[in-house]
Subunit: 167 residues, 2 copies
């Protein structure tokens, strides 16, 4: 399950050989339904993703939702399993500089776990309606967590390379 | 590796039977060094965790750090492998109400992936010094990402059950 698919790297990119075996395992605990069936149709980032999406938990996990309805925002961890895991330096196809994967939010990463903060609209049974996700329809869910502004909100944070690109 | 260890659940808690097989695999890409060798010694939450910690990547992944030094805050995903994964309704030992695991930041969860936002102090080679982590010494690292305030900072977020508890 940790196979490293064949792929072409672009000039300036760097690929590594991943370990032969994985170190731990994940359960897919549900699925995310979105309007986007192909990667090219997805919003560019969660700030542009205003369409409501549904997150449906497998039945066994539904009791774990108790009290989540009192939260306005939910941290959603999901698995992006359609990208290579071995490109540690990456370059967008048509522009930009090569950057380290850990300075990017690219889906292509050694452990393709996405973290998005979504607004919780409602919970009905095992299905949440949220706003702010930008992933493909059918994406596997890994975890939900309450968003605590006291530890998770850092409005003063700076991403230097992005600011330089935009200036 | 997805074995469900035997454990005692407390009154009001609910355990489930986890699937026999995992759906995807993780690589441990580094380790986090902290001052805390036992769970009872860890800070209660990241807001109280001001001691600097070191994150050291395995050598193959170090090129992936390029440009991360321009970021003030880093999203750190790590694996909390010392807690049961099958308790979907949880109750603290000495107080509190039973709540769903997805309304809590407890390390005991189906996929024990923690998300913490850390201040980046410095990067030297493959080692980052950060502030704001509260995990055990030796915790396996899964991912690092840049923190974008435009999508990750939601100071207005509410955790209703917590506000009620504190009022």
């Amino acid at each position: 399950m940790c196979d490293d698919d064949a792929f072409q790297i672009r000039p300036g990119e760097m690929a590594i050989t991943l370990p032969e075996a994985c170190d731990a395992g994940l359960y897919f605990i549900g699925r995310i339904s979105t309007p986007w069936k192909e990667r090219t149709a997805c919003p560019k980032n969660p700030a542009e993703a205003r369409d409501p999406c549904q997150i449906t938990l497998a039945p066994a996990y539904v009791p774990g939702l108790r009290d989540l309805e009192t939260c306005s925002h939910v941290i959603v961890l999901y698995f992006m399993d359609r990208a290579p895991r071995n490109i540690v330096v990456q370059k967008p196809r048509h522009y930009g500089e090569a950057r380290g994967v850990f300075a990017l939010r690219s889906p292509a990463r050694p452990n393709p776990i996405a973290m998005s903060v979504a607004e919780l609209v409602s919970i009905e049974g095992g299905t949440l309606t949220v706003r702010g996700l930008d992933c493909l329809d059918g994406t596997p869910l890994l975890d939900l967590k309450p968003y605590f502004p006291s530890i998770d909100a850092h409005p003063e944070a700076v991403v230097g390379w992005r600011d330089k690109e935009n200036s």
